[in-house]
Symmetry: C2
Subunit: 462 residues, 2 copies
């Protein structure tokens, strides 16, 4: 038995190993996430923490033993950031999933990190509220995971990313001390903004064990939904730019390119696209635009001619059933990809005005490397998810070569490596290209200050 | 001649001292701001930087000489954060006031830090855009000052604070290196969020020399404005809470208590209040509520009965003239205070649901110390500005004693020392009460990492 496992079982009063798990299947599952990347080695234990005290005990024990700790939630990450690496202790907070408090008057909730996004939304919906961050994975991903990656999602074009939704955090530091940052007020500027620093830090500065998150009112009335088919993806990108600015901001602007539509057609059957969009869109692109709030219908009416001006054939959903059919096209993208093999989902972002150019680059890169790169974009944010489908457990070299060009293209267009998934393991080698040496040094300095022994998620994020 | 002045004039090629100013009047003006606090000593020079290179030269020179640097903009701060202290070099970026780029398609502007908030708004209004942060001082305060303090303002109840509006920063570090953080995309999670860390850091981590800020569309149509008079301030606080939640968020919710109204009546003449509000409100309170956007009129109609339910007598502005009269009541508060003496403007915030209680505490503290504490609140944010008017140049001891109780009351109600003005010099002694020792240690560790020689705005903020 590994000595750190013995020490953890003693510290957590867990002689039978029901909390400090070492079953091979549990260890193995913790090596991977939804990124398609599996750590080559594996952790020595997975601790399924039940409380803040458990988390503190793990960090004290691992600090004393100089053993790396990999914080983990539901394991739905897309960059390998929570994957248990060789010799590490995976510290899962998935069981810490309580909603501690909901304040309707002050529009916040106090939650444990393991609560699912969907569960929080369901719990507060009765009060006419919701948690704004809305990753596509909301049903299976945790609030703690959102915080670790500063996740975005489909409606952040209107409602902002996770950082804007986090008022305060309880964090266990590398040495086991528990600290609270931030506040329950909507404003507050006392001291440096450590809350914002922890958001998106991917478990490298501390382990989030509690969060005070902002809730926002559910929009009044029914949403208004448009689907538009465009001759080319560049037209669709221009259509997206045309509807996202102006006084009424859409709550969703999602773009699917021709390769993505082809994958969906193969998955759902081509007649679904033909019936829904009036086209199987082999060469075109699809844009889904939704407005919510009291002026939703009016805003959609105003947006339709702007889509038409860019060459769009616009379908206005006139019933909940029609809306559902339009949403289904978008929602079927990831299942369609996963049905074809393992998937590497990339996550570049560019200024919105460069979106059409970035799509052209994606197409050119795909042609050059002989790979299809079906792509969905949160087009209102300029955030593209180019997908690579491959066989086997390892991302092939030619896929990484194509991804490398993708990252460089995004940076070249004034963009970023990762809009919302995080750096994790998979994007570390491009970090310096985006940040530059001086900023990277500052980041490493901050990391060293919070974690002088380097035990928190080493080899990830920075 | 001080040796650092000689070194600065040499480094900046300024033999005549037109950039490195040492005129007594200039040095003296830099000792104070709008807080009512004047540094007991004074700076040895005020450098009026014209360029990034100037800022770099100042930091290199002052690092070499171990001389403190106090970054400063327009000097409109309310906590002494930019006041030139004994033996320091004040580094003014007020002359660096260019708007470098405005991207209408991507809704951002790239600006120098000295640009006035009002000037930026005026420059982008023609494109149907504005910079969301809206301090009451917008006409005279700089974007750099907003960033230094993470300023809020009147419309942040709907549009968020400065942090949400800053995409990226150019910062000169203590040793003179220039770094860029953040991005021009609306999303991006590569590395730690140093941009958010610099926002609100009050010049203690680096000197902001450029910013990429988000612009937001100007709301469509005319705003809809309500003024309501309540029998008590607690009723008005409940009225504010009743209109700020729900699907239509007001863009402004400002509360004036009885002492504030008395001051305004004395300043404008009591008939102005009587004509505008139908009451001189000697015992009551006034709430200004404004909605903008396409459903403004509808939202105001919905809000009126909620104000009435809390005891409000509601005036619905039916013309631009009537709106202006309601806004004038609020806008006259600060001039009314300044007409009576020197003013210490405090800045506590509490969860919105505790606003009525906080007003009760303010009243009780005023009674106990025999001082009037006229108070205006950004009530939608739970952010109160209790004002103390005094004679002479020094804040009297009994005012600080009352302020001390105010800060403790805010923290006791789950709130914060400062909602939007910053800690500066004036609130440092209460920092530990709010943050606790461990968080304060972390903040000091971050500070030491960015500024190992401790030359950046020492004695301020943290």
């Amino acid at each position: 038995m590994d000595t750190v496992v013995t020490a953890l079982r003693s510290a957590l009063a867990d002689p039978d190993g029901t909390v400090v798990r070492t079953d091979p299947a549990v260890l193995d599952a913790a090596r991977t996430d939804k990124s398609g990347w599996t750590a080559p080695g594996g952790p020595v234990a997975v601790v399924e923490a039940r409380s803040v005290a458990d988390v503190q005990a793990v960090l004290r024990t691992c600090s004393a033993a100089r053993v790396p700790v990999v914080p983990r939630g539901a394991g739905t990450g897309l960059a390998g950031g929570a994957n248990g690496t060789e010799g590490s202790v995976v510290l899962s907070v998935a069981r810490m999933d309580r909603i501690i408090e909901v304040s309707v008057a002050d529009e916040y909730a106090v939650v444990e990190p393991g609560v699912l996004n969907g569960a929080l939304d369901a719990a507060v919906a009765a009060h006419g509220l919701r948690f704004a961050p809305d990753p596509a994975s909301a049903a299976i991903s945790t609030v703690g995971g959102n915080i670790a990656t500063n996740a975005g999602g489909l409606r952040c074009v209107k409602y902002g990313v996770t950082r804007e939704a986090v008022l305060g955090l309880d964090v266990v530091l590398a040495d086991g001390r528990l600290v609270s940052t931030g506040r329950r007020t909507v404003k507050g500027v006392t001291g440096l903004d450590l809350t914002a620093l922890f958001v998106g830090s991917e478990g490298t500065l501390g382990v989030v064990v509690g969060a005070t998150v902002r809730l926002v009112p559910l929009p009044a009335g029914a949403p208004a939904t448009l689907g538009a088919v465009f001759p080319t993806v560049a037209d669709a990108a221009r259509g997206a730019a045309a509807v996202v600015t102006g006084a009424s901001r859409p709550s969703t602007v999602e773009l699917l390119d021709a390769a993505a539509l082809a994958g969906i057609a193969a998955h759902l059957g081509p007649q679904v696209l033909t019936e829904t969009l009036g086209s199987s869109s082999a060469d075109g692109a699809f844009l889904l635009v939704e407005f919510d709030g009291p002026d939703a219908a009016q805003a959609a009416l105003g947006a339709a001619p702007r889509l038409q001006a860019e060459g769009g054939t616009v379908h206005h959903a006139t019933s909940a059933v029609e809306r559902e059919r339009l949403l289904t096209v978008r929602r079927s993208f990831h299942p369609a990809m996963e049905a074809r093999g393992r998937v590497l989902i990339e996550d570049v972002a560019v200024p919105r005005s460069r979106l059409a150019e970035m799509f052209e680059r994606v197409e050119a890169i795909g042609r050059r490397h002989g790979v299809a790169i079906p792509t969905v974009a949160h087009a209102g944010d300029g955030n593209l998810h180019p997908n690579f489908v491959f066989a086997g457990d390892e991302v092939p070299a030619h896929v990484w070569a194509a991804a490398d060009e993708l990252f460089r293209a995004a940076i070249d267009l004034g963009g970023t490596l990762t809009g919302e998934h995080g750096v994790g393991v998979l994007k570390r080698r491009w970090l310096g290209d985006e940040l530059g040496d001086d900023v990277l040094d500052l980041q490493r300095g901050v990391k060293a200050m919070f974690d002088p022994l380097g035990i928190l998620n080493p080899g990830k994020a920075i």
